[in-house]
Symmetry: C2
């Protein structure tokens, strides 16, 4: 599938709604359990997604679209959520994510991006040159990556309970 801005936004705007459908008011046993030491719970993942909205996607988009200035992105802090989510409930994080994602999509739409912008570039501090298409596609895939992770983490809470069916459930491997 070739990059398409409308089809990108189409997925990005669904993420807050499906996270709510999956996680809002969910029991702690599902939402706060992880896959073992140094892994993330669904709660941690939502905090991570919020941090990305605050510091990453739109900031990098603006660097790429800017005519001049430093083209190198700030490094992203993958552990910021452990501080930033402190004292907040999962429901609060879900609302916060919905609000900031919707706000960021307004900004994205306001840029009136055309295909002439697609190949504009920024510099990732570790990965090198990246285009606007790379950034926006990664935004979507990053959401889906973490949705897949949340599903897997939740599934693993019943790893012992499925008994012989474990053989047919690749998500538990």
């Amino acid at each position: 599938m070739k990059f398409d801005l409308d089809k990108t936004i189409e997925v990005l705007e669904r993420t807050p709604l499906l996270l709510e459908a999956l996680l809002k008011n969910l029991s702690d046993e599902w939402s706060l359990s992880n896959e073992g030491e140094e892994t993330w719970s669904p709660y941690d993942v939502v905090g991570h997604l919020i941090h990305g909205e605050k510091t990453d996607w739109i900031k990098r988009l603006e660097i790429i679209l800017a005519e001049e200035g430093n083209k190198t992105f700030e490094p992203f802090d993958r552990f910021a959520q452990f501080e930033e989510s402190k004292g907040k409930t999962l429901n609060q994080l879900l609302s916060e994510f919905k609000e900031i994602r919707n706000y960021n999509l307004q900004i994205l739409r306001s840029k009136n991006i055309t295909s002439a912008d697609f190949t504009k570039k920024g510099m990732h501090p570790a990965l090198g040159e990246a285009t606007l298409v790379n950034l926006l596609s990664t935004w979507v895939v990053h959401d889906l990556n973490h949705l897949s992770q949340i599903s897997r983490v939740m599934a693993k809470q019943y790893k012992e309970e499925v008994g012989p069916w474990i053989e047919y459930l690749p998500v538990l491997k």
Copy 2:
């Protein structure tokens, strides 16, 4: 996490809602694309989930709870959806899934299952003995397994478009 009936139903009843949030009115490029030959699109997965509701979970539950009779489950047809979904839109399948899942959860609740039933058994045609706890846990994990699959299949449609970020996106591996 130990098996808990309420917490099992809590996840099972969310699945139709989150599938709607993710897939309803979604562009065909996202919902009808798969991971290559002999793999499933999100559309195929929803058909598979419907077939499970029709022929598998409740039927097997009733076999396990029955005091007598044949305790061996019918084999499950993993390819039935390719016939059964024919001519239906994804939105139709999502509605159909919601209806039959809600109906099946009513049946499940009506059984007034207690912990005395948890170790009752049936016989899986390939995997051998399985308890009621195994069956109900598998129902949940099976949902989450396919949610993880749908996320991965959608993510892969942008595999080429993410450019250098592929390195940070395990869902694309």
